[in-house]
Symmetry: C2
Subunit: 396 residues, 2 copies
Amino acid sequence: MSIDNFYSENIKNALKNDPPGEWMPTIPDNCIRLSSGFPAPDLVPVDSIQEAVVQLLNDEQDLPLHYLGTPKMDKLKQQIQARLSERGMHISEKALLVTAGACQAIDLIARVFVDGNTVVAVEAPTYMEALEVFQNYTNQFISIPIDEQGLQTKELARVLAEREAQGLPLPKIVYTIPTFQNPTGTTMTDERRKHILELASQYDFLILEDDAYGELYFDKQPVTLKAMDHENRVLYVGSLSKVVAPGLRIGWVAATEEIITSLYWFKKDLDHPFAQAIMATYLGNNNFDNRFNTLRISYQERCSVLLAALEKNMPKSVTWYVPEGGYFVWIKVAGADTSILLQQALDQGVSFLPGKYFFLNEQDGKEWLRLSFSYSGLKEIKKGVEMLGEVIADWF
Amino acid sequence: MSIDNFYSENIKNALKNDPPGEWMPTIPDNCIRLSSGFPAPDLVPVDSIQEAVVQLLNDEQDLPLHYLGTPKMDKLKQQIQARLSERGMHISEKALLVTAGACQAIDLIARVFVDGNTVVAVEAPTYMEALEVFQNYTNQFISIPIDEQGLQTKELARVLAEREAQGLPLPKIVYTIPTFQNPTGTTMTDERRKHILELASQYDFLILEDDAYGELYFDKQPVTLKAMDHENRVLYVGSLSKVVAPGLRIGWVAATEEIITSLYWFKKDLDHPFAQAIMATYLGNNNFDNRFNTLRISYQERCSVLLAALEKNMPKSVTWYVPEGGYFVWIKVAGADTSILLQQALDQGVSFLPGKYFFLNEQDGKEWLRLSFSYSGLKEIKKGVEMLGEVIADWF
């Protein structure tokens, strides 16, 4: 019996791509992990989560352990709504869906809006997990390059006009991380934000705004596309993974009631009552603003140390984008192949992610690499960049 | 802007069906809930789970709160493997996928094996959540009736032969709950188990075996289809929802390495590190056998009380299947319409699920209803059946 004979069209399409997760390099123990886009271990609120669980189960007993869960799950929605509202996004309860992290949110959106006939526009470079999701449902993509000011909307406009003139199908959805982008750390300017919304209206597409890093600004929080959107074209995906704890898997989609109802058709893992109730209890005990401030100060400091170390240790030919928040610095090593560089860096004891993992066309990422300042401590960051500087100097 | 213009073929198909979850009737507070397929509140191990969380976070700190989680997640797989092995199912680590409950497991399987061209065979009646999942990807179904000995495999054989003779497409997958079925509580006989495996081989189909209730036998545990399968045709779905706590959302698929790899293409919510690590810690502290024995004794007692109350309170025209485990008793009220009956029962203060919710053709369930003995206490069960007896007596 050959299992291939049983495969659906969906999986046949998906199998044409690289296996999911294949791109994660194996990192030796004791390596300084400038590759990891994880929150810092000392910023994960272990004690507060422990307290929240004890309190939750003392107060509510078996309730959060059943299928339907507890009023705490409504509470979580209200907490998310309140925070979004402070940021200019006024979302009704029925227009908000809590998901198992941003990844599930993106997958649900893909199932509702993407099929084999759908053209999806993505940033180049972009978050590869999202790209892998879209690749399960279509193989029609448009890549629009990013520069220091985020997605190049003029280039998007040019491509759209050209496709329209040529009678080619237009994208139905544009996936963007406008704020502290993964992997580039760049932030779309206000002007470009207005422009992409105008283009969405003109060319009739939806925008999937992934705002996983939006709370982690250093000086000033950008206004989201969702807050600027008057046509309900923005499907806003958020997450508490970067600001509380990824292991609880709490994300959401904010859109319209109609869209959320559609997403529910595919949300077949039901709610996650215990995780959602724990998060609600934790958030009830902890002030969002205090928490975010702590994170911002700490990540800004880590970023400063990383940038200073780059200034000090990198050859002149190495350049980078200076982020205004988030987790990442995007670095160009002109003339290098960062995949080969990675092997040498791992031998030295420091890891990063080569640029090729973030592009549909891997060649486009050859000279680039992503450093994360979120996970490692200050001394490690300094030491790691020193090592990387040596590896790069040796290259030339 | 009309959102319909953006919909994928998947959602357009799905929207042809009833909205998900629509079938759950609203049950007034203080109603005796013989409708709820939940574990008994007093059998959910609240204290042990609380202990497990405290211990886990004391021991491992932030580890289970990150994306990648902890070695505890491998431990959970080993615990599941060990239990399956005791039941004659020897599954390698790579042939096992931990999921967010059985529902996610079924959804992943549907995406990999079901598309618009796929015929799916289901039991009549069957678990409606699973049916809703399949309906997202196909609208071609064959319904095979159940009797007191489970799925009528002779009828399945007849339908298969007929379809083959007529040149109609054959089912690629048969979905069955062979043990303590939802909603009928019936168990497929050994003879029929052999027969369905023979048919799978003869007509080249896969079997999705849903064993959510398999540990909850009263006297004797049936051998699973998976344990009898020599051709790797059985995709075995299990869950800890009915035997530990549904709110943690822990289920799994046991199949072949190749199938599990395929499922991973669509498992885009990643792992659920915290929930999985809590479950592993809980299982490490608690003996499976002791736990299952406690549940079996308690549910058998609840079932006995329910059956005795039925004998005492039901008119002669009411009949039922006597279950050998699980959560449910399936009852025929000849001549009634159980949907109308439900309204009267709710007014009296007792709930059940009308049969129509479990059939593709709702008319087939008109005279049937499902009672659950899992959730309510002994006194409530007795009282609830008394009320129901009065409502039914009033009907005639």
